[in-house]
Amino acid sequence: MTAASRTGRAVGLALGACGLAGCGPLNVLARDGVTGSSETSLGWFLVIVSCAVVAIVTMLVLAAWARSRGRRARDDAVFAGSPGLPWITWGGIIIPAIVLVAAFLFTLGTLDAVAAPERAPAAIVQVIGHQWWWEVRYEGAGPSQAVVTANEIHVPVGEPVRLELTTNDVIHSFWVPELAGKRDLIPGQTNTTWIEARHAGVFGGTCGEYCGAQHAHMQLRVIAEPPGTFQQWLIDQRAPAAQANDPSTADGQRVFMTSGCANCHTIRGTGAGGAVGPDLTHVASRTTIAAGTLPNTKGNLMGWIVAAQTIKPGSDMPSIPVPSRELQSLAAYLETLR
C-alpha cells in the first residue's frame, strides 16, 4: 500500500467518522479496479492539495482581518502603501506554477497508465445504452454462441475486459466508479474502455449523462467472479430458455405470449422475439429489474408488470392490466428463467 493510499484511507475513515456520509455503493474515492485505482490516487492527491490551498488562503484572509482588528487608533486616511509585488510573484505565479506543473505531470502519467491494459482482454463486452436500461452482449463464435443480457456485466476477476460502448438512442455515460471513470455512449460512434476487477464482488454503476425522464433509474452492476465461475455463467447464458414443463409455468408462458410481452421481449427457445426491451431468456438469473430500480423478487416482478408507469414513469414498459391469477403464473414462469 502506498503512502498516498494510506493517507487516502485515513481521510476516508475520517470523513466517515464525521458522519458526513455513510459509504455508498458508488463511492469515487474507494477503489478496486485497476483503472479506478489510478484515478483514485490522482483524486486523493488533488483533493489534499486543494484543501491545503483553501486552508492557506482562508488563514491569510482571517489574519488580515485579525490584524486590522488589533489596530488601536482608527485611522481611515488613505495611504500609498508598499507595492507588495512579492505577494504576486510568489503567491500568484511561482508557487502555483510548481503545483500546477506537478498536477499536470501526474495527470499525464495517470492518463498513460489507464490508456490500455497490460494484457489482451479476456472478454469483449458490447454495452448498448437504451432509455433507460443497458443492453449487454458477449459475442461468441457464431450467433448461437452470443450472450445477451441486461443491466449486469459479468467479468472474470483479475482479467482486463474490453467494453465497446454504443447507444440506441440518446447520449448515456458508462460509469462504475470503483472500476473506471465515465465514458460516454454517443450516437454514431463506438467508444471503448476497459475494466479489471481485482477482487470478486458486485460493483455498482449508473448512467453518468443526463438522458431524459428516467435518468435517475438507469443503474448497472458489474459482477466480478473467479474465471471458472465466469466461464460457467457464459455457458449457462448461451443456453436457450428453460422449458415450461409443469402446467403452472406453461400457463405463465401462455400469458406471456398473449398479453403483448412478446412484442417487445425475447425469450430464446420460445416464439417471443421482440427487440424493444431487455432479453428475458435468463431474467431470473439477474439481481435487479428495471435497471436497478427494484430487487428481482417475484413480488417486485408482479408489481413491475402491472404498475411500471407508476414505478418508472415515462419508460417504454407499459403498465399491463394482467388479472391476478394470470399474473401469478406469469411471474412464476419468469422465475423459472434462470
Partner: protein, 643 residues
C-alpha cells in the same frame, strides 16, 4: 480645447433641459439614459435571480429525502433546466451589464455610453427574451434538456414538445441583447473616456467588462449558430446533429462549449473587477499589482478560448487533444492566482475597514479559491472522468456562480446603491445579510462535493435510500433555505434603504474613482463640467499627492471641480483609444421609441415562430424592418461642426 470653467458656473438648468428624459410614457419607454437602463437591468436580473432561486428551492425539497415524489420526473427536468438557463443566461451576465451600464460613464467621466439607443435595445431585448422563455414555463413546456441542451435528446425524436423550440429561439433572442451590449461596451471604452484617462488609468472593473465584451463577440456566434441549427433541425428537417442522418451530436457539444466556457469568464471577470474596486477602497490604499491584475484579466479572457474541451473529456477524444486541453485548463489558474494574491496583499498591506461590502469581498476571496481549486481538479482528465456530471461538479459550478458572481454582486449593491439612490443601506442588517448568506451557502453547497464523491449523479429527480445520500442532501436543503433567507434580508435592506436610509452624499466611502465625484444620485448629465484625468484614482490625489498611481510627474493633477461645459445639446468628449486625447465633441442621440418597438416586434416574431403562427412571424418581421428604417432615417444635425 475650450477653457476650463469652474463647477459652480456650469449652466445646470440648460443641461437639465437637454438631458432629462421627457415626462410620461414616452420618457419611460424612450429613455436612453444609461443610469435608467442600468437600474432596469439590475432590477430585472434580480427578478430572474429570485425566479431561478424559487426553482432551486422546489428542487431542494424534492431532494431533501430519498424516494420523494413531490415532482414528476418531467416537472423536475423542466425545473432544473430552467434554473440553469435562468441563472446563467438571464441573471449572471445581465446583472453585471447592469452595473457596467450604470457605473461606466460615471467612472470614465462621460455623459453616456457610446451608443445610447443600442443600449436601450440591449435592455428591451433582454427583458423580452426573458418574458419569452418564461412563457414556456407558464404553459408547462419549458426547456427540459439541461442548460446545455445536448443533442440528440434536444431533437424532435426524443423531445416532441415545444420545450426545446423555446430554448433555441430564446437563446437566439437573448444573443441579440448580449451582442449589441458587448459592442456598446467596446465602443464606450475605446471612445468615451475622459480626456487623460489613458489605458493605464482605467479601473480594473472596466478591464473586466471590456475583456468579456470581446469574449462575447468571438464566442457567442457559436451558440447562435448552434441554436439556429437546432431550430432548423427540429422544424425544417435539416440534419446537423442526428447521427443516423450523417449529423454529429458532438458538433452541438463543441458549438455549445466554445461559447459555454468563455461564458464562465463573462459572468465572473466583471464581478472580479468590482471586487478590485471595492477592496482598495476599504483597505484605504491602491490595489497591489494593478498592471498584473489588468493583464491577468485579459489573459483569462484569451486562455478562456482554449479550454472548452474539458467539458467533453468523457466523449472519447484522442489522448493528445485531452492532454492539450488539460494543460490549458491548468494554465488558466495562474491569472486567477495573481488576482487572488493581489486582493489578499491589498488587504494585508492596507488598513481594512470592515464595512458590509468588504465582508462580501473577503467572503468572495475564500469562495473563489474553493470554486477555483474544485475546478482545477477537473482539468486532471482521469479525475474528471470520475466526478464529471456528479454533484461534485454541481458544487464546483455553484461556488463559481454564487461565490464569484452573487457575493461580489451583493457586495457591489451595498457599495454602489448609495450612489444610485443617494441613500445608505443599513450596516447591521448588512452584516446579518452577509453571515446568513455565507453560512447558508457553505452549509448548502459544500456537502454537494461529498455527495458527488459518493457517486451522486447530477440531474436525478430522486434517489434510493440505499444510496446513502440522504444526510448530505438534507444538509444541502437546509443550507439552501438559509441562503435564500440571506437573499431575502438583502432585498429587505434595499427596500428599507430607499425610504429610510441615511443620506449618502457624493462619496460616502471616500473612494478614489471618478464615479464618486458628483452628487448621489447623479444628475442626468452625470458631470456638469467634464473632468480631465491625470491619475488612476483622481479623488485620492488630495491625500496621496504625487504617489497617486498613474500620475506622471510634471503633468499636474486631475481637474474635477473645473472642466469643460459642453452644453450645446447632448454633448460629450470623444477621445483616442490609448491615451484618451480628446478628438471630437460627440453629439449624443435623443430619446427614441424605436429600440422598444424593435424589441416588441422581435418578441412577436419569436412567438410566431415557436407556435408556428407564420402570419405573426411575418408581421413581426415587417415590424422589425420598419423600426430599423425609422431608427436609421437620416436627420439634420442641430448645430454646426460634428465628428
Amino acid at each position: 480645447m475650450a477653457t476650463l470653467a469652474p463647477l459652480a458656473t456650469a449652466p445646470v438648468e440648460r443641461l437639465h433641459e437637454t438631458w432629462d428624459a421627457r415626462p410620461g410614457l414616452y420618457g419611460i419607454l424612450g429613455t436612453v439614459d444609461h443610469k435608467t437602463i442600468g437600474k432596469r437591468y439590475l432590477v430585472t436580473a434580480l427578478v430572474f435571480l429570485m425566479l431561478g432561486g424559487l426553482e432551486a428551492l422546489i428542487m431542494r425539497v424534492q431532494l431533501a429525502h430519498s424516494d420523494t415524489h413531490l415532482l414528476s420526473p418531467d416537472a423536475y427536468n423542466q425545473l432544473f433546466s430552467m434554473h440553469g438557463i435562468t441563472m446563467i443566461f438571464w441573471y449572471a451576465s445581465p446583472i453585471l451589464s447592469g452595473f457596467s451600464n450604470y457605473i461606466w460613464p460615471l467612472m470614465l467621466g462621460s455623459r453616456d455610453m457610446a451608443y445610447p439607443r443600442v443600449n436601450a435595445l440591449s435592455y428591451w431585448t433582454f427583458l423580452a427574451s426573458g418574458i419569452f422563455i418564461y412563457t414556456a414555463l407558464a404553459i408547462g413546456q419549458a426547456p427540459n434538456d439541461g442548460w446545455f441542451g445536448y443533442a440528440p435528446m434536444s431533437l424532435r425524436a426524443y423531445n416532441p414538445g415545444l420545450n426545446m423550440d423555446f430554448y433555441a429561439l430564446g437563446l437566439i433572442f437573448l444573443t441579440v441583447s448580449t451582442t449589441v451590449g458587448a459592442i456598446n461596451f467596446i465602443g464606450t471604452v475605446m471612445k468615451m473616456r475622459a480626456p487623460g484617462m489613458s489605458l493605464n488609468r482605467l479601473p480594473i472593473f472596466v478591464y473586466g467588462t471590456m475583456t468579456v465584451s470581446f469574449s462575447i463577440l468571438f464566442s457567442l456566434p457559436a451558440l447562435t449558430a448552434g441554436s439556429v441549427f437546432l431550430f432548423f433541425e427540429r422544424r425544417f428537417g435539416m440534419h446537423f446533429f442526428d447521427a443516423s442522418q450523417g449529423g454529429s451530436p458532438l458538433l452541438w457539444q463543441h458549438l455549445f462549449w466554445i461559447l459555454g466556457h468563455p461564458w464562465v469568464y463573462v459572468i465572473v471577470l466583471p464581478a472580479m473587477g468590482m471586487v478590485s474596486e471595492m477592496i482598495p477602497t476599504f483597505s484605504r490604499r491602491p490595489l497591489v499589482g494593478y498592471p498584473y491584475v489588468a493583464l491577468s484579466t485579459i489573459a483569462t479572457g484569451l486562455i478562456g478560448f482554449g479550454v472548452w474541451v474539458h467539458h467533453m473529456f468523457a466523449t472519447g477524444l484522442p489522448a493528445v487533444s485531452m492532454s492539450f486541453f488539460s494543460g490549458a485548463s491548468f494554465l488558466i489558474t495562474i491569472p486567477s492566482a495573481i488576482a487572488v494574491f493581489a486582493w489578499i496583499a491589498t488587504m494585508w498591506l492596507g488598513r481594512p475597514v470592515w464595512r458590509t461590502p468588504m465582508l462580501f469581498c473577503a467572503g468572495f476571496v475564500v469562495l473563489f479559491v474553493i470554486g477555483g481549486v474544485s475546478g482545477v481538479v477537473t482539468a486532471a482528465v482521469p479525475f474528471d472522468w470520475q466526478v464529471t456530471d456528479t454533484y461534485f461538479v454541481v458544487a464546483h459550478l455553484h461556488y463559481v456562480l454564487i461565490g464569484i458572481n452573487v457575493f461580489p454582486v451583493i457586495g457591489a449593491f451595498y457599495y454602489w446603491i448609495p450612489k444610485m439612490t443617494g441613500r445608505m443601506m443599513n450596516e447591521t442588517l448588512g452584516k446579518w445579510n452577509f453571515w446568513t448568506m455565507f453560512i447558508g451557502f457553505n452549509l448548502g453547497f459544500f456537502p454537494m462535493h461529498i455527495a458527488g464523491l459518493l457517486g451522486m449523479p447530477r440531474r436525478v429527480y430522486t434517489y434510493p435510500a440505499s444510496s446513502g445520500w440522504d444526510t448530505v442532501n438534507l444538509i444541502t436543503t437546509i443550507g439552501a433555505f438559509l441562503f435564500a433567507i440571506g437573499v431575502l434580508l438583502f432585498v429587505i435592506n434595499v427596500l428599507v434603504s430607499l425610504r429610510r436610509g441615511a443620506f449618502a452624499g457624493s462619496n460616502p466611502w471616500e473612494a478614489g474613482t471618478l464615479e464618486w465625484a458628483m452628487e448621489s444620485p447623479p444628475p442626468p448629465y452625470n458631470f456638469a463640467v467634464l473632468p480631465i484625468i491625470r491619475s488612476r484614482l483622481p479623488l485620492w490625489e488630495d491625500q496621496l499627492g504625487d504617489e497617486t498611481p498613474g500620475m506622471i510627474p510634471g503633468e499636474g493633477h486631475s481637474h474635477i471641480t473645473e472642466g469643460v461645459v459642453l452644453a450645446e445639446g447632448r454633448e460629450t468628449f470623444g477621445t483616442s483609444p490609448l491615451e484618451a486625447e480628446p478628438l471630437h465633441v460627440l453629439h449624443m442621440p435623443e430619446d427614441s421609441l424605436f429600440p422598444f418597438l424593435l424589441a416588441v416586434a422581435m418578441l412577436a416574431t419569436a412567438y410566431g415562430l415557436v407556435f408556428s403562427q407564420w402570419w405573426l412571424a411575418i408581421v413581426g418581421g415587417l415590424g422589425m424592418l420598419a423600426c430599423l428604417v425609422g431608427w436609421l432615417w437620416p436627420r439634420h444635425l442641430v448645430t454646426g461642426e460634428r465628428a
